[in-house]
Subunit: 412 residues, 2 copies
């Protein structure tokens, strides 16, 4: 059976490698939001859009949107082009190039309707949480931008926007009714597909993220003169708390719950001073809010127990509570149908453990995602990778799924 | 019985409070090495020296030495005037003002000989380990100064010396035979004296410090997409290692051994990234090198055990190995004799858990130390304090011990 829409796999790989040059770092990239390299990548994308039948526009927060004037239903597609610091080449660009390829193939086809392409700004959270796509759905205030700073170098977001030449650009807002839905592709960033010898993940939901700052208060003192018996070592309390979580959480978590202590800070942090205060950044992810609630109550009761037994005080502050986002069932079906053609028996319905722009778009339109395998499950590191074959298979499924969605919309 | 040498307690307290004004911070001081406030304190001391029969000189590393031209035996006394960052008012100045008071009282007395006074630079290690007193005993090279930097702000030591106006001053070296010994007073910095309702600690030795950098190597990965079962979380390994130390060390340590994890660093330290590397700064102090050796072998075997069981690699690097310094028995006796007069039944022979300049001077002459109580055992914090009564008692014991040492030297 001839393929109805011919994806150019070599073109997809060439485009991904072209983007890789902007901020190349070892085999990955260093392309923080609003960096010179990020802006170069966005310019590259805008220059490529007309060949896909799209008119590009960049907005005041760094979102790039390519619009089509073809009649008929419109599918919004995309991902992001900035990276984590010194991280992988595909995290973001894969979804943007699949979107561009879908526009190139389908906007020039006899299919009715069009694919529009977006690159959302700052998905990686250099300045905040999903700022670009959240701005597009109307959930970022000017005040939030005014007070946001780059988490690495502290530069004000407003200054970064001005330096990027975007100060006079308005922010784009979604137009109700313009799109039939949103489709995004991404690397899995875990090893579920690879471990199962699978090619496509059909995302069922995007997990919620609950984040906490746990602070231990002891007594700062001299590390040479203070007897072990009278110490109130906040760092040691922190270490014990991590172990207690590790013992208690498995008893009550869900099958796919994950939790992480990403940072430990001892104050003052000198070799000869017993730390008087210690702070850990702790995160829980699950697709089920009731699991997160249960784990939060375990966290709180562990903290109360620690504080009661001493010698250090413990306080738990929730700094983020993100509800999970369900992916649209119809879009999941459209991806499955495309898999039957391009990756038969090689797909799996699965939740996304990572946050993605699709969770923001899901607030205003049906949204869906597909994953391709990550070699060794590695992500947020420059060694992140996916085989060329898997990249091309993913592109075929993505374009076919996009076509399925447009055709279904025409049929009504 | 009339006191043979009359200490002016009010003058001692007034001098300590005068120094407190240089870099006052809450009830403590912030007076880093070579700061404006440190240099002001040194100038204050030099201005006070002539009234104690001393000719002041400041050297190329910030040591101040006041010399006497009286005939007879000379006792060297002193401590330091810079502070830890935002720390206490007595840590250092107490010993310098006791020394000044001893010189004022004894250099004007009919006693044969003299007390000379030193303020050693950078005892608190802003640029290195006991740089001033170590320079005086000939154990600091120009190359070490060239490569030293302020641990807080990174300023080059050579630049700091130039900025302080000391670039053209030679560094003073001890003169063999000039002094019969070195006597230093200091706050205890622990709670042993206070807990025992004691007034004077007669220091028997200064503990050695062994320092380690323990590095855990796991796999950096995404905190949302990486299943708990396959994680190699370097931060969690670090926490477990701290707990293992806490379980194993008490089984083999000495009665006064102390150990401290002063810093934990997770790399990259972001909330959504599983740390791929983690480092802890770990320190052991004991007066007995064989205890430290035993503990180091426990540390190494714990690391080997962790690495073998996985999932993270562990390496232990010793970054400092300081032999303990024995205090001179004759000086200990001279302090005890002074205690019998001024603080009967209120003294205790004890090791020093903290490092002090006396351990450097001990390399080239008999050295001794006495401690006064620290309220609540607090030190290296701006709340550090000692009662006025205890300060004055300490001064009386210090001056009497100095007199005892000079008299004993004359008797031969």
């Amino acid at each position: 059976m001839p393929k109805r829409f011919e994806v150019d796999g070599a073109r997809v790989l060439a485009d991904l490698n072209a983007l890789r040059a902007f901020g190349a770092y070892k085999t990955g990239v260093h392309r923080p939001t609003f960096s010179k390299e990020h802006m170069q990548a966005l310019e590259w994308l805008m220059a490529a859009m007309p060949s896909a039948g799209l008119t590009p526009e960049i907005d005041g927060i760094g979102n790039v949107l390519g619009r089509s004037d073809r009649p008929g239903p419109r599918l919004l597609t995309g991902s992001h082009l900035e990276s984590q610091n010194y991280a992988g080449w595909l995290d973001g660009p894969l979804g943007v190039i699949y979107a561009l390829e879908a526009a190139r193939v389908l906007n020039a086809s006899d299919l009715s309707g069009s694919v529009e392409v977006a690159s959302w700004s700052d998905e990686e959270g250099h300045f905040g949480s999903l700022m670009g796509s959240r701005s597009y759905v109307g959930a970022v205030s000017d005040e939030e931008i005014d007070s946001a700073h780059d988490r690495t170098d502290g530069r004000a977001m407003r200054q970064a926007i001005t330096d990027a030449g975007l100060a006079t650009h308005p922010r784009l807002l979604y137009e109700p009714g313009r799109h039939i839905g949103y489709l995004e592709a991404h690397i899995e960033q875990g090893d579920t597909l690879e471990a199962g010898n699978l090619k496509i993940g059909v995302v069922t939901s995007i997990v919620g993220i609950w984040q906490y700052e746990v602070t231990f208060t002891g007594a700062q003192n001299h590390a040479g003169t203070t007897r072990m018996a009278v110490r109130r070592d906040a760092g040691l309390a922190l270490a014990k708390f991590c172990i207690a979580i590790d013992e208690q959480f498995p008893k009550v978590c869900g099958p796919r719950t994950v939790w992480t202590t990403g940072r430990m800070t001892l104050d003052p942090g000198a070799p000869s001073i017993i730390p008087g205060e210690a702070t850990m950044l702790f995160q829980v992810r699950d697709a089920d809010p009731s699991v997160a609630e249960r784990l939060e109550s375990v966290l709180q009761s562990l903290a109360a127990d620690f504080a009661r037994r001493g010698p250090c005080g413990v306080s738990v502050k929730r700094t983020r509570a993100g509800a999970p986002a369900r992916m649209d069932a119809g879009i999941q079906d459209a991806i499955e149908t495309a898999c039957a053609e391009h990756a038969p028996d090689k797909s799996l319905r699965m939740p996304s453990g990572a946050g993605h722009d699709a969770q923001m778009l899901a607030k205003v339109m049906p949204a869906g995602m597909l994953f391709v395998p990550s070699i060794g499950g590695i992500s947020h590191h420059w060694t992140e990778n996916t085989s060329d074959d898997d990249i091309v298979t993913g592109a075929r499924v993505f374009v076919a799924a996009s076509a399925n969605l447009l055709e279904r919309a025409v049929r009504g």
